[in-house]
């Protein structure tokens, strides 16, 4: 059984939009970490993670996000999130990571200049 997970990036001004899709779990998290760390190493500083296509997110995925956030923080960067199903957003709320991360309802809202 092959489980789909994919991640793509595109530039939007000084922001980098990262669209993840599929299940982010103990299996796929290392690939997500590698992708995000690669972006930061290549100079990306303001990441917007689009959760719209994410079908599952567990604590290993959250750990990746926190690790990348810490890496960005020391480089004056930022990491915000957009979209996501109720279940995906629920893990951010339940673990109180909404105190750490901005969680926007839509990608458009996340990209507004005033955010």
């Amino acid at each position: 059984m092959t489980v789909d997970f994919s991640v793509h990036q595109r530039r939007y001004g000084d922001r980098t939009i990262v669209a993840a899709a599929g299940d982010i779990d103990v299996d796929s998290s290392p690939r997500l970490r590698e992708f995000l760390v690669g972006l930061v190493d290549d100079g990306a500083r303001h990441l917007v993670i689009d959760l719209g296509g994410v079908t599952f997110l567990d604590s290993t995925g959250l750990g990746v996000m926190v690790g990348v956030f810490r890496r960005l923080g020391t480089a004056n960067g930022s990491l915000v999130f957009a979209g996501g199903t109720a279940a995906v957003r629920g893990v951010f709320h339940m673990t109180q990571l909404t105190r750490v991360f901005a969680l926007h309802d839509t990608l458009d809202q996340a990209l507004r200049p005033a955010h």
């Binding site: 059984m1 299940d23 796929s28 599952f56 604590s59 750990g63 629920g90 673990t95």
Partner: protein, 132 residues
Amino acid sequence: MEVILEMTLPRNAESAPLVRHTLDASLRGMGVTSDVRADIALALGEACANVIQHAAAMEYEVRARMDGLRCVVEVIDGGAGGPMSWDGGQAPAMAEHGRGLQLIRAFTEDVHFAERATSNGAIVHFEKSLAS
């Protein structure tokens, strides 16, 4: 109708999505709502991730029993590992690990952990009401 699933899995990361999707398909077939299925998938995924990352045996087991009212899940590691390695209750805000148990407790019921009597493996048990 009662459905019982018993799976013996290699302790590798690829087993986690396989187990989640297998149980989810059964629950979907029984007409369980997507909200409830998502909670069960999350708790199961966390329990599997813990075994995959911290146990020592080559294999682990997942047992799930579902009727119209309740889903009872046990994730049993194969033993030969060290003591249970869940990281306490609530992770510090900026920790990269330690949120798994918190999520299982938040989204399911009757959560408990047992050391296996016959070996030094461990069992994670949780239940979820299927009534919507």
